[in-house]
Amino acid sequence: MATTATATTTKLWGGGKSPFNVEYGKVMMWYFLMSDAFTFGAFLISYGTIRFSTNGWPDPNEVFRSFPFAPEGVHAPLVFVSIMTFILIISSVTMVLAVQAGHNMDKKRVVKNLIWTIIGGAAFLGCQAWEWNHLHHEGAWWGSNPFLNHDGTASSTNFTNYFFTITGFHGFHVFSGVIINIIMLIMTLTDKFEQRGHYLMIEKAGLYWHFVDLVWVFVFTCFYLI
């Protein structure tokens, strides 16, 4: 009996155990993230295709140049979105700390870092809400684009169409992530993970959160930098 047990444990793919040494939930999360990456990939490739076939495009430095409480006509290109991006990346760091604390079964630090992550996510969403609102006041929305191309000609509405659709879809992911993190926080506070003896769920939530951050890097590049 003992010999068969050792024989099968050495064979990763031999059945009777997970070949990646992870439970099924993490396998699912990884595959889900691959799937979701294809969704975002399809969006961004569509955006690239349309932008490539359009004659002109607005200059992001001109479009995204304001920040809250800024005086009228301020020219601070990409300052606000840099802050947003920084917040989101920092929230990924706190998520890592929460996952690590979970490994060490350190409930207090899990709670602390989860709260920071939630605050980071909520702050990002708040920034996005402000930016959307600001652009909306300038006349930008689905189907209307007040911004001019680089060369001063009228621009395609697909600039705003794609901007609101893709950042909105990403924002929806951040929102879901914040909700998931709040659920994780409640489960931590009610000692669910202590009873289970592990904080694996936090790890899965962390995978999702990092993925959403990573997607933002691409969205940010496509809309603000290029």
Binding site: V22, Y31, A42, S46, G143, S144, S156, Y162, H198
Partner: protein
């Protein structure tokens, strides 16, 4: 330890725990047992029966529009009785005709051959054949069915809205699908269609993640990947294809929803609608939707086909009493097909103005699929070769599948050629090709699976005489319906036309169209015979009295005749060999859970 606890145990714990636990009997109510069931076998049956309802509806639709195509001059007063204003005076209106064609395509492709096929057999066979008590997440599995159910209800409701269901073809190309003003079928019917499809994508994602995680993580001790039955390999690749291709469709649909409702121009540019005038939309590209659609659409073909291939391999080996020929080659070819599935989508778009150079790349990649397909066909034929073949109904349908796959596959070589496609695109040649190779062939795979695993599903057999009638009429009918369509297509007869009798060049096909329609009705009637057989046998069929009625090696036949939730009473069997030890060392079959004997020859 309860079953649920076993299923959700943490890393590495679940299989060790299997040994010493005995399945607890939950107090099942009607609701938890038959409706919101988390037992993979019940969920499989739910998928199967919902799929059957859709198959009947979708099949009936084809009979109705074949009536129009076969008898364009006749009127059928009873049509007005059932369709009302859609068949004023007993003749299907053009709008109803297009709605019927569209809905037929949508429900057969997605609801019957995706949900009904892989939903049924992935759920049923994966845990049973890999030796697991249930799916990795039974709850998500249940959700997967109920999202499908919701999608079904919404699709069904779209048939009852005043402007009718969506009628722009199952591919839903914009601008027709994006502009409500362009056609009555593009109004609220299209909104319901797209919501239904979005829910369907969620269902398929939930299901697919579960199938993948289950196959990777939940195999019983000794069940290495290369000991898996080919059904499981096929269902695994199917799930991977679904998880990676459906999200792209979802993106395409989200953009379409915005174009329909929020004034965007993702797919729209420079459009003039009669009676409405010029639209303000500019800058979009209708071709973009086609790329997004076919990035799903082509893998979807293999999502439909692979489960049938897997089941046919298994059934054929069992009933030839021979090991499957070229097991590793079968896995390799499944893998090759799964990879190529993602690289050929633009062969649906040769006539969209695609760059001919790019077209030639897609021709090459498309024709490459012939290689793994041929490997599979030859392996099936060599499995049959000198086998001790038992012609059970399941086996007949499996052989029928191979026949159809060859016939339909050969015309794929015509269509994969971008130069020939200029002539053949959107003709009945295409209809004939994909109905034979994917539609009817996969239905045959499904029938084979149902006849073969019915004893495991319900503990009874289906009636063989009815099954033989079903098989012979269906295979003869399938060829009689679709073979002539090749000639029509070569003559240039376009698909989706309402009435060919007004075209001088197609008048010659009037009687042929009548013949096709007549056969279609007969074949449809025989499917009702199958349904009768199915439901009658659930309650009155001959009882299964032995654990392993087919003498098969796979693990599902080591469970009790009517397995409960948890599948095995007591310990899950350990696996010691691959699934295809038939006729080895003079033994007719050796079950996978039989340890290797001392004097056994090398395997």
């Amino acid at each position: 330890m309860s079953n649920e606890a076993v299923l959700h145990a943490s890393v590495g714990a679940h299989h060790e725990a299997h040994g010493d636990e005995h399945h607890e009997h939950h107090q099942d109510t009607f609701i938890t047992k038959y409706v919101f069931s988390q037992d993979h076998k019940m969920i499989a049956k739910q998928f199967l029966i919902t799929g059957m309802v859709w198959a009947v509806l979708g099949g009936l639709m084809s009979v109705l529009f074949r009536l129009q195509l076969g008898y364009p001059e006749s009127t059928f007063p009873w049509l007005q009785d059932i369709l009302g204003k859609w068949a004023e005076g007993g003749k299907i209106t053009p709008a109803a005709y297009y709605a019927l064609v569209t809905t037929h395509g949508t429900v057969l492709v997605f609801f019957v051959l995706t949900a009904g096929l892989s939903g049924t057999f992935a759920n049923f066979l994966i845990p049973l054949q890999i030796g697991a008590r249930d799916m990795a997440s039974p709850f998500m599995n249940m959700l997967s069915y109920w999202f499908f159910f919701a999608a079904s209800i919404i699709m069904l409701s779209s048939m009852f809205v005043e402007t009718g269901p969506f009628s722009g073809g199952w591919t839903a190309y914009p601008p027709l699908s994006a502009l409500g003003d362009a056609s009555p079928g593009s109004k609220s019917g299209m909104d319901l269609w797209i919501i239904s499809m979005a829910l369907f994508v969620v269902s398929s994602l939930l299901g697919g993640l579960n199938y993948i995680a289950t196959v990777l993580n939940m195999r019983t001790k000794g069940m290495s990947m290369t000991r898996l039955p080919l059904t499981i390999w096929a269902l695994f690749f199917t799930a991977v294809l679904g998880v990676l291709s459906f999200p792209v469709l979802l993106s395409g649909f989200i953009l379409l929803i915005f174009d329909r409702n929020f004034g965007t121009s993702f797919y729209l540019s420079d459009i003039f609608i009669n009676g409405v005038g010029a639209l303000p939309n500019e800058g979009g590209s209708a071709i973009l939707f086609q790329h997004l659609f076919w990035f799903l659409g082509h893998p979807e073909v293999y999502i439909i086909l692979l489960p049938a291939m897997g089941m046919v391999s298994e059934i054929m080996s069992v009933n030839s009493r021979k090991p499957i020929f070229g097991y590793m080659a079968m896995i390799g070819s499944l893998f090759a097909i799964a990879i190529l599935a993602f690289l050929v989508w633009a062969h649906h778009m040769f006539v969209t103005g695609l760059n001919p150079l790019l077209g030639s790349v897609f021709v090459l990649l498309t024709l490459l699929i012939a290689v793994p397909s041929a490997i599979k066909v030859f392996n099936w034929l060599t499995t049959l070769w000198r086998g001790n073949v038992r012609f059970t109904p399941g086996m007949l349908f499996a052989i029928g599948f191979v026949s159809l796959f060859i016939s339909g596959g050969l015309t794929g070589i015509w269509l994969g050629n971008s130069a020939l496609d200029i002539h053949l695109h959107d003709t009945y040649f295409v209809i004939a090709h994909f109905h034979i190779v994917m539609g009817v062939a996969s239905m045959f795979g499904m029938f084979a699976g149902i006849y073969h695993w019915f004893p495991k599903m319900y503990g009874r057999f289906m009636n063989n005489t009815l099954a033989y009638i079903h098989f012979w009429v269906t295979i003869a009918g399938a060829y009689m319906i679709f073979w002539p369509m090749h000639y029509q297509g070569l003559a240039g007869m376009p698909r989706r036309y309402y009435d060919f009798s007004v075209w001088e060049s197609f008048k010659q096909f009037g009687e042929l169209n009548q013949f096709i329609s007549l056969v279609a009705m007969i074949v449809f009637a025989v499917q009702l015979l199958f349904l009768f057989n199915f439901f009658y046998s659930i309650f009155k069929g001959r009882r299964v009295t032995t654990l392993n009625p087919w003498g098969a090696n796979t693990l599902e036949w080591t469970t009790p005749i009517r397995p409960g939730h948890g599948n095995w009473v007591g310990e899950i069997p350990e696996v010691h060999r691959w699934a295809y030890d038939y006729g080895k060392d003079g033994k007719e079959f050796i079950s996978q859970d039989t340890p290797i004997g001392a004097d056994e020859s090398h395997h």
